[in-house]
């Protein structure tokens, strides 16, 4: 549709100029959004009595300044990024996978189950006595399968039962959390006897991820897996026909179906892949070298954060690593900002400030996109203005 519009444009320099004019709002919108967010953040900090320059120094110090802090930041970035990659598939296909939080949790439980079966048990299934690599491989397989199966529950409810994935997702998150609590609290089957903490025992040595020698909390394995997941998602989105189908049914499921796209099968496929990547994120969380146990809230909201990432990245696979990086910096830096002001300046910032700052950025960028679409609608979107189904944020 867009190309047919452009064909009528004058050729040569005029066309290039028009093309740049078209693109300008798309580039400027997020820029204005981030600028507005920064302004609001500076005002909030000033109002709280915190010097914004000092605040930025703390964020920088807590995330990027030293190699050790960068390692911690990357350790948090990886599960967030891989979850976001999976969500790109689901959201492109028009699936509002709110259940991703539960899928991370079930993935964490799956990985822990593999540890219990193959590393802690004296009689592992099938008599498999594996070394560390084998055990860890099975942990990731279990986590991915568990996450995929949990996502498939929502997918099947949608394709067979017509249940909206948002509602089933909320319910499945709740069930996952309750199940996790059953396992590790109040003398549950996975809580060590006599323990008072809501968690499993620390995993044995042969179920621990290798970590960098200097940065004991960061494991290279999680980085490799995340890069692999990125390659898979990028190939699907930019190379494969399946990616095209997902886009088509994301725009309009009924039309796609009438044009011969097997929409139901694609719902199952996209959800399963998304769930498996969320499951891997859950495995990263419990296998992290400074955790090595199943905790009360293994995800802790990373799934919801990933949803914001994907929305901000406009479901673009290429942008997702960068946006998730920004969120990882904001999360880790925010904590340093809070403790820095308190420890060095006796200035107590409210602990919810960090969340306010994050939300301000999301809100402002989304607002900017909305304003762009309202006042400078992208040419390709113009013919669809009357279509209520199109979401242009």
């Amino acid at each position: 549709m867009a190309s047919s519009t452009r064909q009528r444009l004058p050729s040569g320099a005029g066309m290039t100029w028009r093309y740049v004019l078209d693109l300008l709002p798309a580039i400027l919108a997020p820029f204005f959004g981030i600028a507005a967010a920064l302004l609001i953040i500076v005002l909030i900090l000033e109002w709280q009595g915190a010097d914004p320059q000092v605040a930025w120094n703390y964020v920088y110090e807590g995330t990027l300044e030293s190699a050790a802090k960068r390692a911690d930041m990357v350790a948090f970035w990886m599960p967030l990024a891989i979850t976001s990659f999976g969500l790109v598939l689901a959201y492109t296909a028009g699936l509002w996978n709110i259940g991703v939080e539960g899928q991370i949790m079930i993935g964490a439980i799956g990985a822990t189950w593999a540890v219990r079966l193959f590393a802690e048990s004296s009689s592992p299934p099938l008599g498999l006595r594996l070394g560390r690599d084998g055990i860890l491989f099975l942990c990731f397989v279990f986590a991915a399968l568990a996450g995929a199966l949990w996502a498939l529950v929502a997918a099947v409810l949608k394709t067979r039962g017509g249940v909206n994935e948002i509602f089933s997702g909320v319910a499945l998150n709740f069930i996952a959390q309750t199940f996790n609590m059953y396992l590790i609290s109040n003398g549950g089957p996975w809580q060590p006897p006599g323990s008072r903490a809501t968690e499993t025992a620390r995993f044995p040595e042969n179920a621990r991820l290798p970590s960098f020698e200097e940065y004991r909390r960061l494991s290279p394995t999680t980085i490799y897996i995340t890069i692999g997941a990125f390659v898979v998602v990028a190939l699907i989105m930019y190379v494969s026909r399946w990616g095209l189908q997902l886009r088509a049914q994301g725009k309009n499921r009924k039309s796609a179906f009438l044009l011969g796209v097997r929409t139901d099968r694609n719902v199952l496929g996209a959800m399963a892949l998304c769930g498996s990547m969320a499951g891997l994120a859950g495995a990263f969380r419990v296998l992290a070298p400074d955790v090595t146990k199943l905790t009360a809230t293994p995800s802790g909201g990373i799934g919801f954060l990933a949803i914001l990432v994907v929305l901000l990245a406009s479901m673009s696979a290429i942008l997702t690593p960068f946006v998730s990086f920004v969120f990882a910096v904001l999360s880790k830096g925010g904590q340093r900002l809070e403790s820095g002001f308190q420890w060095d300046h006796d200035l107590l910032l409210d602990r919810s400030l960090v969340r306010v700052l994050q939300s301000t950025i999301v809100l402002m960028v989304v607002l900017a996109f909305g304003a762009r679409n309202r006042f400078f609608p992208p040419r390709s979107a113009q013919p669809a203005v009357d279509d209520d189904d199109v979401d242009r944020t």
Binding site: S185, G194, T295, Q335, S339
Partner: protein, 411 residues
């Protein structure tokens, strides 16, 4: 002359600068890691104010705090990272103030053998399974809870008391049982009722405080208790929902009361229906610890500090206290005074004192806790298990249970 003056000036300058650097080095930094917000009007705030008490009473000390360390509030941070930051900041003592940090504290402590760790409410040092730089501190809150139970029994009109419990472990079970024993005693001796007609129920929300979607909502639990005719709520969680709900329901005309927990100022949420608060006063024990670490005399130990029976609300000597609330009449207060005097006499071993941990007591499953006339040992009270003194490892101790007569689940 000028040369002498110059030498003198240099000496003075050297001395002054050396002195100044000694002062700078002398600043003693201690870290405090809180599981909840430092202003929760409960468990975490009690620890936070205790740190301030140390800063005030021992010049040259400085507390650095990280509040709300739990994966729901801070998914990006682990205790390992927090301790690293605190040690980098110069902390020589780190207080990890939740049962949820117990395992991680022992693991992290091995990485920093020169830093002292206090795992609050834990018992690793008791078993000798923790590194040498990990100690435990806890207050004898069971006395506070007995007083709370007594106050509830004095007040209840329906004979039904509701206890909002956190998660189930030996500590929380011990505190519910203590409140139950206090309630039974006062229901019988001051109200003249048969203790077997007292209806005492606990509902566990699943964690130390509300995490939406993850625990039961303590506000709903409190409302459900009142809907079921329970007119006194006793809180066992870190936060103030029970007294807040009771205050709201009382404002609507219901005759209900509440006993909050943990923090001295917790009654402020709804003063008129507050029957008083059993609270922790961590200040004195923290002060002792900081002084011992400074002197180099600190040694790992498992410490369970009780009230100062001459004045349980003495801020400098009593480790647990009970502040009366406006919901108590003068008559109630007189009876509570007498009850507390009885507990004091019992704890001090005087003639005719009260020992509520005295047999016959049995657990919900019918097993015997204490035989007729048997008085519980310290370990039996701590673990709420008959075999606590015989066990060589934590795994051998029978899991704690609620006493027979308490409604609610033990596991």
């Amino acid at each position: 002359m000028i040369r002498k003056l110059a030498v003198l000036a240099v000496l003075v300058a050297m001395f002054a600068s050396g002195f100044a650097s000694v002062i700078a080095q002398d600043e003693f930094i201690f870290g405090s890691v809180l599981v909840g917000p430092k202003d929760d009007r409960g468990w975490s705030q009690a620890h936070y104010t205790a740190g301030q008490y140390v800063e005030k009473n021992l010049p040259g000390t400085k507390m650095i705090v990280l509040e709300s360390l739990n994966t729901a509030a801070r998914p990006e941070t682990t205790l390992d990272q927090v301790v690293e930051d605190m040690v980098a900041q110069g902390a020589q003592l780190i207080l990890t103030t939740s049962a949820d940090f117990e395992v991680d504290t022992t693991v992290v402590a091995e990485l920093y053998p020169d830093v002292v760790f206090i795992s609050v409410s834990g018992d690793d040092a008791l078993w000798g399974i923790a590194p040498d730089n990990v100690g435990n501190i806890m207050g004898e809150m069971e006395y506070g809870k007995m007083i709370a139970g007594c106050a509830a029994a004095l007040k209840t009109q329906t004979g039904k008391i509701g206890y909002v419990g956190p998660l189930i472990d030996p500590e929380t079970t011990r505190l519910v049982n203590a409140a139950y024993l206090g309630a039974r005693h006062c229901y019988e001796n001051y109200r003249g009722m048969s203790p077997d007609t007292l209806d005492f129920a606990v509902t566990w929300i699943g964690f130390w405080f509300n995490i939406p979607g993850f625990t039961l909502d303590p506000t709903e639990v409190s409302n459900a208790f009142i809907d079921n005719g329970r007119d006194v709520l006793i809180s066992g969680i870190d936060t103030t929902e029970a007294i807040v709900v009771a205050g709201q329901r009382a404002a609507e005309g219901a005759a209900v009361w509440a006993v909050p927990y943990d923090f001295e100022g917790a009654c402020d949420e709804a003063p008129s229906i507050c029957l008083g608060v059993p609270y922790f006063n961590w200040g004195p024990s923290y002060l002792m610890t900081v002084k011992a670490v400074q002197d180099g005399t600190w040694e790992a130990s498992w410490d369970w500090f009780g009230p100062d029976w001459t004045d349980i609300n003495n801020p400098d000597t009593s480790h647990v206290g009970y502040l009366y609330g406006d919901g108590l009449s003068d008559e109630d207060k007189a009876m509570l005074d007498e009850f507390i005097a009885g507990l004091a006499a019992g704890a001090l071993g005087e003639e005719g004192g009260l020992h509520l941990w005295t047999g016959p007591l049995s657990f919900q499953d019918g097993s015997v806790f204490l035989e007729e006339g048997e008085v519980a040992t310290l370990k039996q009270i701590w673990f709420q298990a008959a075999n606590a003194d015989d066990a060589a490892t934590p795994e051998e101790v029978t899991p704690a249970q609620l006493l027979a007569g308490v409604q609610g689940t033990s596991k």
